[in-house]
Symmetry: D3
Subunit: 249 residues, 6 copies
């Protein structure tokens, strides 16, 4: 099984970190193909960055179909471009937020997502409401810039831990979800410290992708994820007109 | 007051139709500046088209700031790129769906949105749930391709009318919202035929934009619509790195 | 365009304040006809006052139809008698709360309504849930009596500002809605102080009324706002039996 | 125990029918004091009628306190004036809709309310959403005018039965709630015919009132039902200014 | 009227306390038959205890049918086994939580349930969401073990009072629901201290059972509470195969 | 990895069918240990059967800990005893409904669960609301008794297919979830016939269990799934008093 792990931002160091996390949990027969978007922002912090990351993400999904993959993971907790990617491809596409909160739901009845900046808090809260977890999950921002997570001297981990502690105390959180792909290396350690499940979206998404592929399940092409209709595209998007990415057989 | 009416698809004929509708309802002091995206799909039918329309939309918003506008309307019923545009700009940004359902809410307690293709139905239903109208509004698809609305011989209007009649009979609809920018020229006539309010998103959005501008209100820059943070962008998106579009003063 | 601005309480000083606010934002062709109810409580604080204000409100709507108006605004943030007025009249009827929260929804994803007394807090929270903003808006009471807002020496403004500050800090509010018609003169100044949109219901309702009238839209007469059926009325209500208020033509 | 059963419309025949239903289920120590409003519409069909019925209702509640009652029932399925009455009085106040759906909730997980006119359908559906039963209950209109229920030759019962049959078949209803005070005499017979619980609001409200009174529980005076504040009232409402109706001791 | 009050835990002292509370509020013609489960845990604290209490509860319901009862109350605030009991029996079955929150809903628009241990908090919150009170009620744990309530020296009452005070201050609670059958003797006193309605589930359930029985209403046997189908049972459950408990006639 | 697959009903033929389905999708290193409850009903149809199946289920979970398992699956679509099992055990516990609807949520925005009897429809609908999928999923009953699925001549498959066709046509379903463990052998074939994802709960739960175990995640022991407190148990339940089932190390 070949899983494409696409980082929709253009920071190769974050791709590398996510790839390490993904390979650490992948089954023995799973190959993780890590890819970094070549078009868009260096990090995704809010709606503007997210929107401009999508064409680069879709481009990778389309171009890499020739070498083949059985499923793909969008390595950003904002689930950037998730619906568009599902419409484009036949193979299963997983987002980190959707995978992580579904996973948390099997382990705890109430949990808290701890993300980076305040500007992402409501964005993630909206995702969670849409995924049906609005009555079970809270979202907290810890005032960390995404790229600070790459810098051990930034104090980011201290801020993250303080916010987790507030979640346990004030929210009655039974589990913690790490709300940024850049936190993926911290999950194990934080789980040991706090004695509650700590869920990393990258790891969760790898297992969900493996599950769907091995079950022979793929994105529905009936209704809202129907394959794109053929039509002209203009300007820098003109090479996007081709049809959807079929399942390899 | 100058309002930018951006068609996020690249079909100039649809821009023209929307501009006519906008100018027909604009106040005497309002100038409608119609713009067609130069980058992206010829029509927006589903998530894939929508995602690829956003950079072209944001590009118009940025480039036209030098000539100035006081508010902008995204002329697609899917509210394509609405959050990203709000994060980018200080001036008010209106979407058709959000404007139309808020308007309908002042006139009726239960109403139905009639859109084009089945693939857009759930997308719009998700918007409506997010805008808080899930308990009051239903969405129906009438099996019309967006560009068929440009072709009088397509039978599109007959399909649309049949679906409106089902909404009145089966949903107990008290008003009808037309769920596609391409239907904007039909609202008046349908309202006369059926004797219930028929709301067109283009007209609704023009009035909401005028309202916000004249009240001196603008998009909040605190929280989820905070202005984009400066950061590097790569590839075809590299010219998007500049910061947000300030309010003209 | 003639808009009737009815204060459903009997305090002419509040009518005057609301009329000033309304005229300050009305379009050049809009005439604001201010009216004070002649029957009911001097201020509306809670359900009892609200219920007893409705006949006076409906009476004004009926009696003034001979001189004509194209739309009406009920100048109380509790949206007192809004549904009954919509059933009575063909012309658009706007409430302050409904108008203000719809307006806030175009500018911010999360916002807080700051009202006067604790007894009004749940009443407004119920309105907001019904208008579909329950997941996006909080309501706070600032422990001010409505008529204290008329008295500069009452300390009311200090209490209001303290509550706004708590909303920004504790709720993560991206915008503030002023939850009483008596606060209408404070919106501009508070917006400058806090740097977030501050929405006043009177101003919002004027623009919504102008929008609906200029779009040729009116209250649906199908379903829950159908015109009153002719029937006998007894006692002090016996002069209310006449049928609904038709749109002027 | 003395329970005041107030018919908020002015039709004495409906009061009589409701009183018979109330006395049929009242406990041996319960006295039902039937009262007909002397001010307002002859029947309540929609928001306009409802609003104009409230002062008459509140007037009865106030005037009859001298002779005393321990609880009161508002004998209209629209729960006309329920919050205002609760604010006015210390004693428990029950509405038919609230009582009936709470009762139905103990007997069935899904049920349908069958009411009279289409114009009341959404009004009742809004009540049900507010009472928290929106996910469990549907509302259907059977196209019967309220006063047709007083006329055996009107065909009203046939329409009502047809609608109940649709509720059982199409909604999977496990119980039926009769959505009009004028249907109170039909509950027993319909229950026998259809073999599912058929709940009448008058009977349900009597038992809820008895329950609250015998438990020594009364309306909370903290928060949204706090007693009216003393203030001037004008016009025909000027005699309403007095404070709330205290519990008899 | 004979009401079976079953304590689903095996602590006879708690049964006794609940029986005293039940008899204190029962109508003159109501006989309370108190029963203690003979199979299961000594107290119910969380899902595991609750699940293992159900067969003992169902067993009592079945065995006691020969001596007859007209309705039954499950004397645990977790509403342990409520749906299974309703499927088993024709007579009305009441739970404490469902009865108490329905009762509170007639008296207050916002209220707080104060329960014992943190492990029961989310369980009760889930019940409340399901009963439709999620938008109106909060749940708080006061860190009291159930059996501490039997021990005056445990400090349990002090903890309970502190939590009620937080509910009044921080939640804006208009009423308090006591969230454990073991608190039934405290309601009256706490109501006097705090001046808001304090609702005890045992008392509320007795009155609801009396109401349903006297109205001739019983659990719907159509749909989700249909009587058990005959089928083989194995092991210690083999004596449970008999069909449902019919209404006495 | 050793996964315990417990059939909570006592029909060994259904266990065998579920075990075949589980082994067909299990990863190469996963051992499926199939177990049939020895205590309770032969099939689970409604709340009564479900409640009486739980002690047998918990008994298996406890007794088999000596031979060890890393996770467990409760092989009934009603998620019978799921919370109690999670409180008992440290290892992950998966239910079929929760696993299947989470899986469907990755593939489709709207889907329909097709179950057996009408009496299970509302039960499953309640689960789905609680799992947050109420706005996305419908439930349909196909009027099949569970054990009919074991009998090729029963016509059960024809009924099931007819209901799936209604789901596609009337609900706009984008995917189908099979709502009974006894349908597990039909998923592949139905998926080929209808061209939409068809999700079987047994297969979905196996992959979710593998995912959680391989990620080192386990049920939270903080809050609502905290391990049972030590306490006396009486009667046939007296051997249940021991504490929770620890994770094997």
């Amino acid at each position: 099984m070949r899983l494409l792990l696409i980082n929709p931002n253009t920071s190769a160091s974050m791709t590398e970190k996510a790839a390490i996390a993904a390979r650490a949990v992948a089954a023995s027969g799973t190959e993780i193909i890590a890819a970094t978007s070549r078009m868009g922002p260096a990090s995704i912090e809010g709606y503007y960055d997210g929107a401009l990351a999508v064409p680069g993400l879709l481009s990778e999904l389309r171009e890499r179909r020739t070498t083949g993959y059985d499923g793909a993971i969008i390595a950003c907790f904002d689930d950037t471009g998730l619906e568009a990617a599902r419409a484009l491809c036949d193979v299963p596409i997983l987002g980190l937020c959707e995978s992580a909160v579904a996973t948390a739901g099997f382990l705890a009845q109430r949990f808290t997502v701890v993300t980076t900046l305040e500007r992402s808090r409501v964005l993630i809260d909206n995702l969670i409401q849409r995924y049906g977890m609005g009555g079970r999950a809270k979202v907290r921002a810890s005032d960390i810039a995404v790229l600070e997570l790459e810098d051990a001297a930034s104090g980011a981990i201290g801020k993250l831990r303080a916010e987790i502690e507030r979640a346990l105390e004030e929210d009655g959180a039974e589990a913690i979800v790490l709300g940024c792909a850049g936190m993926t290396d911290l999950a194990r350690e934080l789980q040991e410290i706090y004695g509650v499940p700590v869920i990393d979206g990258v790891a969760a998404a790898v297992k969900q992708a493996e599950a769907l592929v091995s079950l022979g399940l793929s994105t529905s092409k009936r209704g809202s994820y129907a394959s794109p209709l053929p039509k002209p595209f203009s300007g820098a998007m003109s090479n996007f007109a081709a049809k959807h990415v079929p399942t390899l057989t």
